[in-house]
Symmetry: C3
Subunit: 146 residues, 3 copies
């Protein structure tokens, strides 16, 4: 076991996975903080809990942070699916750096850009993450099949 | 190969992952059953299939079970990302029990509390799952870096 | 490391994971293309970026492709959680083929059926993917516990 995480590729994968997980969790925390700050909740019992009148409503800020969170899921699942596969193909050090440093950084950049409504930064960061996962997939495919 | 799943840490990770996967799938089944029971569907062709007039509408019960499912995705993806990493760091038996028994149980508790509208139980179960994944991340990070 | 991906079971898992990842990413691309084609966006800054008046609205085609994407997440996360576990239990070649060829094909079939509004094909493809993941979970559980 120790053997596995002593491999540079697996170590890079592990560190990237941890950062992507924490980034995704932070989007949930961000939503909760906005909900608490604006007193806008998704379930009737949440209003009762806060001893508030009110019922679930749409709120622009809540919807924005929920879109950030949703985008984390949409990007994070493919990364979870191919990240370990790519690491197991023993890629070059350059490949490891680009993918396992680049993807988490792109996702953090995406989240910040989205929260601030910055375009085209949001799309650029999204595209960087997207291209990295497609590259990891293609590279792994070639490595396994040939 | 056999060697990997004979390790206690990997076995605990495997069992926890299976339970979390089945918990998430059960949320989808729950949604389907409510949709069938109340005849509330998301796509026009679903009404045609059931030989019903009608069109997609919001339904409080359907929305509640969809929020449960969504929360399973939001909690399950970070767990999928860091679960194996944590197991590969060869944590203590106590750590394995807390994380790989605690997380699935917390998620099951969260789903039941949410379905029944129980607060603060839902928040407590959610927080237990959240803290466990953050702990797994922090513990793995320290183990890899030092 | 090379040792791991030289195992047939791990290779099958790796190939299936790559296809499922790319399938999920393609749903996101599909959404983007429909949004661009119909000029329907989710955030105000997207309209500004396109130098358009307008504000986020519901669109039937966008909602349909978002449901496809969401279903990919709901099916893909359990697969990500149990796929490697199942591969590590060293299943039979038949089991490997059914699960690691069947699941990606079922998901692709689901996406196409959903995009075209085909019922009951969509439900059948969904059910095939669902049963495969439940089978992988049950088979892995038995293999680990007994």
């Amino acid at each position: 076991m120790d053997g596995l995480l002593s491999q540079p590729g697996l170590q890079a994968w592990a560190l990237a996975s941890i950062v992507v997980a924490l980034k995704t969790l932070s989007a949930g925390i961000h939503t909760s903080r906005i909900r608490m700050g604006k007193k806008v909740f998704s379930s009737p019992e949440d209003y009762a809990m806060q001893k508030l009148e009110g019922s679930p409503t749409h709120d622009q800020d809540v919807e924005r942070t929920r879109r950030i969170h949703q985008n984390d899921l949409e990007a994070g699942l493919p990364f979870a699916l191919v990240g370990l596969v790519y690491a197991l193909t023993v890629p070059s050090t350059l490949g490891l750096w680009i993918c396992f440093a680049g993807f988490p950084l792109a996702r953090i950049g995406h989240g910040i850009s989205y929260a601030k409504g910055l375009m085209p930064q949001r799309t650029i960061f999204w595209a960087v993450g997207f291209v990295i996962v497609v590259w990891m997939s293609a590279s792994s495919l070639l490595s396994i099949l040939f």
